[in-house]
């Protein structure tokens, strides 16, 4: 009989205490890996959301604020920039393309973005992948809308359905743009970015639905019908932000400076990667705190295991004496306890991994829809290292009861002094 099966059988004998220990370790491993998973996947998600865009331009605020609001639709709204300014940026010789973004309306909790069809051409995500349509096509008519994959999935919409946009972010007392319904023209393929939870319409459409609004209300007596609006001048007066692509990367800093020093309006141009870097720097402290806490929790789990092993050690003096009597060396007794704690930790680690897998599998859709976060099911390389570290730590922890049992079995001889 080898030591591992001996340890397993001994653990089975004490299954209640062992189970509690394993669950404690499993929860701590779950937390440790969970924090790491969210951290890594959130970073990857954020970074992959704006690949291929050289600059994001909006009204002057903070780089992180602008990026979060314009691209991720979270945080405080930034001021608008005027259409004239947008046209000036567009006309800069270094600029290759621009995509305007106009935020402010919503549909059943999903953000509506007013833009141009250039959005579907120039917006790239992940490893510079372009958007693609699972169904339909970019908007063509004034009252056409294109919806993200998550919008289609959650609201069971398909091409041809009619939807009504809400003024502002929605809510119980929301004013609806009920007089100007939109028709779904296309559905985008899933991207794992906030685009999935977005409804895109043309900039003119955003103008159109607000043409008879002033101060957040429809003007009584001035209602313009959906049809009559078509014949009005729908050139936008303002947009929220714009994405800028450059002809050469070498001009990035020069164009950024030029936009930042634009005399007529206080603008802010950010390099998305640099702004993200700032964001990571900002949340790095919180992340490190979370990681520290999860490491502490693992240590607490380990101490729990040690407490259990040490408490059981006294009752097990007899067991150790018997092993010594049949020829096991004191080193074997030591090894047995190290194997026990390693097994406990390993079981806990495996259970923790399964737990994380289960939670990620169940929570995947919710997190994508509500936080724009795409979590991987498989552990990353770092997580394997963390697991290995936990198990090694468990083995080392076992050296403490192991050393006590070792000393005892040398001193006690074959007598059991209780």
């Amino acid at each position: 009989m080898n030591l591992i099966s001996l340890a397993l059988k001994s653990l089975r004998q004490r299954r209640t205490g062992v189970l509690l220990t394993v669950v404690t370790i499993a929860l701590s491993v779950f937390l440790l890996l969970g924090v790491e998973r969210v951290r890594v996947d959130a970073r990857r998600g954020f970074s992959s959301t704006v690949s291929g865009t050289d600059l994001v331009v909006g009204a002057r605020s903070g780089p992180v604020n602008l990026l979060l609001y314009a691209i991720f639709h979270v945080g405080e709204a930034t001021n608008n920039i005027t259409w004239k300014t947008y046209e000036d940026i567009r006309a800069m010789p270094e600029v290759s393309w621009t995509v305007p973004l106009s935020l402010g309306d919503s549909h059943r909790g999903f953000r509506v973005v007013g833009t141009t069809t250039d959005f579907f051409v120039h917006y790239h995500y992940g490893a510079k992948q372009a958007l693609s349509f699972t169904r339909g096509a970019p908007f063509a008519d004034l009252y056409d809308a294109v919806i993200g994959a998550e919008v289609a999935r959650q609201l069971h919409y398909t091409v041809g359905d009619s939807i009504v946009l809400a003024h502002g972010l929605g809510g119980p007392a929301t004013a609806l743009h009920a007089d100007k319904p939109f028709r779904i023209k296309g559905i985008l393929a899933p991207t794992g970015t906030p685009v999935d939870a977005t409804i895109a319409v043309s900039l003119e459409a955003i103008e159109a639905i607000h043409v008879d609004w002033r101060g957040g209300m429809r003007l009584p007596g001035l209602e313009a019908s959906a049809e009559s609006t078509r014949h009005m001048d729908l050139t936008p007066t303002a947009i929220t932000a714009c994405l800028v692509g450059l002809k050469s990367r070498l001009s990035s800093f020069a164009v950024q400076r030029a936009i930042n020093e634009y005399p007529d309006e206080a603008l802010l141009a950010v390099l998305p990667g640099v702004a993200l870097g700032e964001l990571w720097h900002l949340i790095g402290t919180a992340e490190n705190a979370l990681r520290a806490v999860s490491v502490m929790v693992v240590l607490v789990g380990m101490s729990g295991m040690l407490t259990a092993l040490l408490a059981m050690l006294n009752e097990r003096r007899r067991e150790m004496a018997i092993l010594r009597a049949v020829g096991a060396s004191a080193r074997t007794v030591f090894a047995l306890l190290v194997i026990e704690s390693t097994l406990l930790t390993t079981f806990g680690a495996v259970l923790g991994c399964l737990l994380l897998f289960g939670v990620v599998a169940i929570g995947h859709d919710y997190l994508l829809a509500n936080a724009g976060l795409v979590l991987e099911l498989a552990p990353s390389a770092t997580e394997w290292w963390l697991l290995a570290a936990v198990i090694v730590l468990g083995a080392f922890a076992g050296a403490i009861p192991g050393a006590i049992a070792y000393r005892r079995s040398l001193n006690d001889g074959l007598q059991v002094r209780l």
């Binding site: 990367r249 070498l250 950024q256 870097g277 936080a371």
Partner: protein, 174 residues
């Protein structure tokens, strides 16, 4: 309405206190901190440095003494030659001496204002695919300098790296 923003509350709380860092014309001017902008496209590698006078020469006014005039001339020369900046050896990059703009050291400079040096190096690299890093020896060249904020734009996108004394390595490949 769904509380879509909840997971980012931490981020926002932290971000709210930030001042805009990109306001060029008001100028982020932090003593001890230099700004380096690195961009590469094809064989071209452009590196732009902005360093406060305080860190380069120890004063931010027109030189008043011979020592100060010498210090100013020495700093100009160091920046013009650019020996502190070494692109990865394999990439085989060369640059002509740069033009140094010293702002705020003129006799007619506004008293009490800030002063800094701006200099741009334009390299041409024979093997740009091997350009995976640049070594920045600013801390050795300017002992008063504490930190260099490096903005990088390459084919892999934009990133920011911060060098604290005595770091020298800036990674260009992801």
């Amino acid at each position: 309405m769904k509380l879509r923003t909840a997971p980012f509350l931490v981020v926002l709380a932290l971000a709210a206190g930030r001042l805009p860092a990109e306001e060029r014309h008001l100028g982020p001017h932090v003593h001890g901190q230099a700004t380096l902008q690195v961009s590469s496209d094809g064989p071209a590698l452009v590196v732009a440095l902005s360093i406060p006078g305080h860190d380069a020469v120890g004063f931010e006014h027109p030189p008043a003494t011979t020592e100060q005039a010498q210090a100013l001339a020495k700093a100009r020369e160091t920046l013009r030659v650019g020996k502190w900046l070494v692109p990865a050896g394999g990439a085989n990059c060369t640059a002509p001496p740069a033009k140094v703009v010293a702002d705020g050291f003129d006799v007619n400079a506004k008293p009490g204002g800030h002063a800094d040096f701006d200099v741009t190096y334009e390299f041409t690299c024979a093997a740009p695919e091997k350009l995976d890093a640049v070594e920045v020896g600013l801390f050795a060249a300017f002992p008063a300098l504490q930190r260099v904020v490096v903005d990088i734009v390459t084919a892999n996108g934009a990133t920011q790296q911060v060098l604290d004394r005595p770091m020298t390595h800036v990674t260009l490949s992801p």
